[in-house]
């Protein structure tokens, strides 16, 4: 299927800040597509370029085969849901929703039927006469959605629409947004810094950093096969391990030496040769931990370690263990609870192990991304900026 919304080599600079740096990106028709990244990564600028509030310094924006780069916002079949909702304070709910139809000079009867239909969709028929400042956050959100959808856009832009809501409401609105997307079947471009929102709603995600796209893929692809250290660290937690390929195992695997641990097996999807440096990302939940040495198995990496820190989280426990000078984060899911089980405690000697497929080689590694990885809680008396980061 061809691209519905396309950014072709788009750049945008604000003063000295390169907000968007020659980005090319295609979004398919009907897709729920998320732009995910930390604040200042350029995701909102991308959205504003699609809406027409900004004009790119270079590159084109194509919507449904038409070049819309030079079209003003009012000429684009695109509507936006703003982070602060931007409801018109002097108009009632009804008038807010009707605004798009009124400026389009639609007939009175048309406007009435369509606004009533929208009010039913958002289940706010009885609030139609209220002004925005009499509404709750969730209600404002719904009015904003109705106001944007009434114009029947080809593309709906959502700028962190849930950021201003509290947690419970956010979860409910997530489900509502998903339902609305299924009902109206238009393309959604969703901007967020919240990986949870992006993961649960999106068909595909583009992870952005410093004006560039780091990776595009389905939520599972992004999580399981991060290409760069930024993606690996920004989405979920991970361990970065730096090593060197020492040999090949069969055709698909290689042996890697990390710190002074030789012979670790790793899936070799980058066709590395012996002598190549590699950066591995291993998710904490992929690493197992126990007091007893596990059985040997062909693709299993088994390493002894010492527990340095742990946080009990109910369904899981997070451990930070040290092995050969490395600090490794391990997440353990509690399956069974035995009263007589001897729990793992601080300074215990343990074994950690993971499957050769679970260490994923990164295309690109930057040391700064280590800051995104959750650090263990500081011990009392420990200096604030400990040298673990470097």
């Amino acid at each position: 299927m061809s691209e519905f919304l396309e950014f072709r080599d788009v750049s945008k600079r604000f003063g000295t800040i390169q907000a968007v740096d020659s980005v090319s990106l295609g979004i398919k028709k009907g897709e729920f597509f998320s732009l995910l990244g930390p604040s200042g990564c350029g995701k909102t600028t991308m959205l504003r370029l699609a809406a027409g509030f900004e004009h790119p310094d270079a590159g084109r924006v194509i919507l449904d085969g038409q070049d819309i780069t030079d079209l003003p916002p009012n000429k684009r079949k695109v509507n936006t849901i703003f982070q602060s909702y931007a409801l018109f304070p002097h108009l009632t709910v009804w008038e807010n929703i009707a605004f798009g139809l009124r400026v389009a000079k639609r007939t009175k009867r048309d406007i009435e039927t369509e606004v009533e239909a929208m009010l039913r969709l958002i289940r706010m028929g009885d609030q139609a006469h209220k002004k925005p400042d009499q509404l709750s956050g969730g209600q404002k959100q719904r009015v904003a959605i109705a106001r944007a959808l009434i114009n029947k856009p080809q593309l709906l832009l959502l700028d962190e629409p849930l950021a201003a809501l509290d947690l419970k409401l956010r979860q409910r609105m997530l489900i509502e947004l998903d339902m609305i997307h299924d009902q109206v079947g238009i393309t959604f471009l969703y901007v967020t810094h919240d990986q949870g929102e992006a993961m649960s709603l999106s068909d595909r995600i583009a992870v952005m950093d410093s004006g560039r796209i780091e990776q595009v893929g389905s939520p599972a692809e992004i999580y399981e096969t991060p290409r760069t250290s930024f993606v690996a660290a920004f989405i979920g937690d991970t361990n970065f391990l730096e090593g060197e390929v020492t040999g090949l195992v069969e055709s698909e695997y290689c042996q890697v030496k990390i710190a002074d641990i030789p012979g670790l097996i790793c899936f070799n999807d980058k066709s590395m040769k012996p002598g190549n440096p590699v950066y591995l990302s291993i998710r904490p939940e992929k690493i197992h931990i126990s007091r007893d040495r596990p059985e040997e198995s062909p693709l299993r990496n088994i390493v002894p370690a010492v527990v340095e820190d742990m946080i009990y989280l109910g369904s899981t426990t997070k451990y930070w263990v040290r092995t050969h000078g490395l600090r490794v984060q391990v997440l353990r899911q509690h399956f069974r609870f035995f009263l007589d089980e001897k729990p793992i405690r601080w300074n215990d000697d343990v074994w950690i192990w993971w499957h050769g497929d679970d260490g994923f080689m990164l295309d690109r590694y930057r040391a700064v991304d280590e800051h995104l990885v959750a650090l263990p809680p500081r011990k009392v008396g420990e200096p604030e900026d400990n040298n673990e980061k470097s």
């Binding site: 809406a51 009012n74 931007a86 400026v103």
Partner: protein
Amino acid sequence: MRRESRQKIRETLVSFPSLFWLSLFFIVPTLFVFAIALKPANPYGGIGSGWTWDNLRSLVNPNYLAVAWRTLWISVFSAAVCLVLATPIGYYLARVTARWKGFFLMLIIVPFWTNFLIRIFAWKVLLHPEGAIKKVLALSGLIGPQTSLLYNAGAVVLVTVYTFLPFTILPIYAAAEKFDFQLLEAARDLGARRLQAFVRIFLPGIRRGLITAVLFVFIPALGSYVIPDIVGGPSGEMIGNKIAQRVFVDRNLPQASALSVVLILSVLAPLVTVLVLQRKREKPESLL
């Protein structure tokens, strides 16, 4: 309940000084003016005894009606011109970067460093038949050599707009500063053209500032005396000039008071209307 009534008493107590001040220096003198309007004049420039409707009755005079009409249209027209000029200025002031904002606000405030009278006399020089503006306009053929720029209602409007423009820019700017400009983006996003967004969203958004701005020009313009006196001439006379003539030339205080009564009522009428309208619409707030 009791808490509320005590609150009421406290509010009354707190507002008492200003109420006292207002009564002593505004309400009482106004009532004096109303009373004097109902008194006959005496030949020595004082106030005679007894009561009469003659002063008020004498206002129904084609001469006065013409002046009243001129006063009204000059005030309305000046307020309208100020509004048309000040709204875009207020809009841009709210949107420019902080550094430029300071500079432009300075430009607006700097004229106040020169005395009001001197600035009006400066206009007299500028508009004078031998003045630069007249010469340029006459040379370019825009006006005939006999057309006078000075001593007419047009000159009064020009100088009134000049004088009160800053007072209209500031409240509009203050309102625009609080306006959420993302609302304009939202309007554009929903299909509104630039001008539609401005008229349907921005103007209602700064409504309070616009009302204040109109009152700031309209009310002083209704009572203006100095401006028409200096640049108006006989064909630019306003009620203020008539009142001054009755006092200083005719030494007829009751007649002057009768004119003042009309003026006071015509100033209060728009104010009260605005306040009532605002109270009806929402909780009363300050005009600024």
